[in-house]
């Protein structure tokens, strides 16, 4: 079993222009910082990115936007990024806004091998335009398709050489769902240990879903809204 790669550069080396990639994280929490930096360095272009948010101007996916590497964003909320807004208004960037639960569930469906799901979210709104509607028990649901993504890039707290992953606190968010949904899944972890060191009872993502894993370096873990009490 050879899942270990040296670093982020090696992990993303075969991601080509035009690829569709999922990126885990909620805001800047639990984002794959190392792989994002490697993608920026590699300069790969015309990407379709599926990610709940689009980072901020100088961190997260915002770094890829600055280099004009993203053709299309599929997200639920993108408000924190001026460069994003500029590219959207100028027509350089395409954006597909979808409800957050629908985004999560379309990842989940892909990971569970289901082609589509029905959800109440968005019925009667502009999100429903062009979508099939089915009624179950008197309520109307939208048909939403599973995502089809070339790569999923996730960030975990701990991982082992078999690719088993454990996430920390709310840095879990979309990461385990996207890990299940990628045709090729890359996991960067804060701590990589030999198989056998993680308790099987505590694994969130079984290694079968993870194709490449490495221990990341220099995590900044930037905080978007630092709020404290006295």
């Amino acid at each position: 079993m050879k899942k270990i790669v040296k670093n982020a550069e090696e992990a993303v080396q075969d991601i080509q222009d035009g690829a569709t990639i999922m990126l885990g994280g909620f805001g800047l929490c639990g984002i794959p910082e190392n792989c994002i930096s490697a993608l920026v360095k590699k300069g790969v272009k015309n990407l379709t990115c599926i990610s709940n948010n689009a980072g901020v101007d100088d961190f997260g996916i915002g770094l890829m936007l600055q280099q004009k590497q993203v053709k299309k964003m599929i997200s639920s909320y993108v408000g924190e990024n001026a460069e994003f807004e500029r590219q959207l208004l100028s027509g350089e960037l395409e954006v597909d806004l979808i409800p957050q639960g629908t985004l999560a569930t379309r990842c989940m469906a892909a990971g569970y091998g289901m082609p589509a799901v029905f959800t109440l979210a968005g019925f009667g709104t502009e999100v429903a335009e062009g979508k099939e509607v089915r009624e179950f028990n008197g309520k109307k649901y939208l048909l939403e398709y599973a995502f089809d993504s070339d790569f999923a890039i996730v960030k975990a707290w701990k991982g082992d050489t078999h690719g088993n992953l454990i996430f920390k606190a709310t840095a879990r968010n979309f990461n385990p769902l996207m890990a299940m949904a990628g045709k090729i899944t890359i996991a960067e972890v804060e701590e990589l240990v030999p198989a056998g060191e993680l308790n099987p009872n505590e694994i969130h993502t079984p290694g079968i879903y993870v194709h490449r894993i490495f221990q990341g370096a220099n995590y900044e873990k930037r905080i978007e809204q630092l709020t404290t009490r006295k």
């Binding site: 929490c29 409800p99 999560a104 709104t125 606190a169």
Partner: protein, 218 residues
């Protein structure tokens, strides 16, 4: 008239022991500060936490522990983490007892608009459409009128819809309204606000039956 703290305080009276509650960004977040003594509620944060605690002290800040507004927070005894699909799964399945959120407009049939203003930068709906589509009980915390004095309680929403027929109750700076088949049913007036004033400021269908009591907030 109620300020934002008064609106939050009044909404907190709707909480019951054992409730699982999702509080939106803005005034709804303030409701957590007024949970009545003697009842226990569990706050859900849709980015993957049940049992959201207060903001951390400076020395306990954890970048991996945030709420849906991306603010640093803490856990409480009995907290649990989960992924985003499970989070919206429990919302969709009706496990969350109460959702409190803000709105730009509410219609007298319970339609809500709170995610998009045409001509302005669209940031996205986040989890709002999932929350309003499925939550069992939705209370909206909002200002009754916009800055120009126009009613935001309408016969029909003019802004893009977030969800249809889903709001059960509105607490505004002017009063408390149940959404009924007849429209906004005024059940309490804010301190110092007359029914005549509420009539004047409400564009949607308004139901006033008998003497509507004035709210008493301690």
């Amino acid at each position: 008239m109620l300020d934002k703290f008064g609106i939050a305080k009044r909404i907190a009276r709707e909480l019951q022991d054992g409730y699982y509650v999702n509080l939106g960004i803005g005034i709804p977040t303030l409701v957590a500060n007024y949970i009545p003594a003697g009842i226990e509620v569990v706050l859900q944060s849709e980015n993957g936490l049940l049992g959201m605690g207060p903001f951390p002290f400076a020395d306990e800040v954890d970048a991996d522990l945030i709420n849906a507004g991306k603010q640093t927070i803490t856990t409480v005894n009995g907290s649990a983490f989960f992924d985003s699909a499970m989070s919206f799964g429990m919302i969709r399945a009706g496990k969350v007892d109460l959702t409190v959120l803000g709105a730009m407009e509410v219609a007298d049939n319970g339609d809500i608009a709170n995610w998009k203003v045409p001509g302005k930068m669209v940031k996205g709906m986040g989890g709002a459409m999932d929350l309003v589509a499925a939550a069992k009980n939705i209370i909206v915390a909002m200002q009754h009128c916009d800055k120009a004095g126009n009613s935001k309680l309408l016969p029909k929403c003019t802004l893009p819809i977030t969800g249809l027929g889903c709001v059960k109750k509105v607490v505004s700076d002017l009063g408390v309204f149940n959404i009924t088949e007849q429209g906004f049913h005024l059940i309490e007036r804010a301190p110092g606000i007359s029914t005549e004033y509420i009539k004047e400021k409400t564009a949607g269908r308004l139901v006033i039956s008998g003497n509507v009591p004035e709210m008493i907030l301690d």
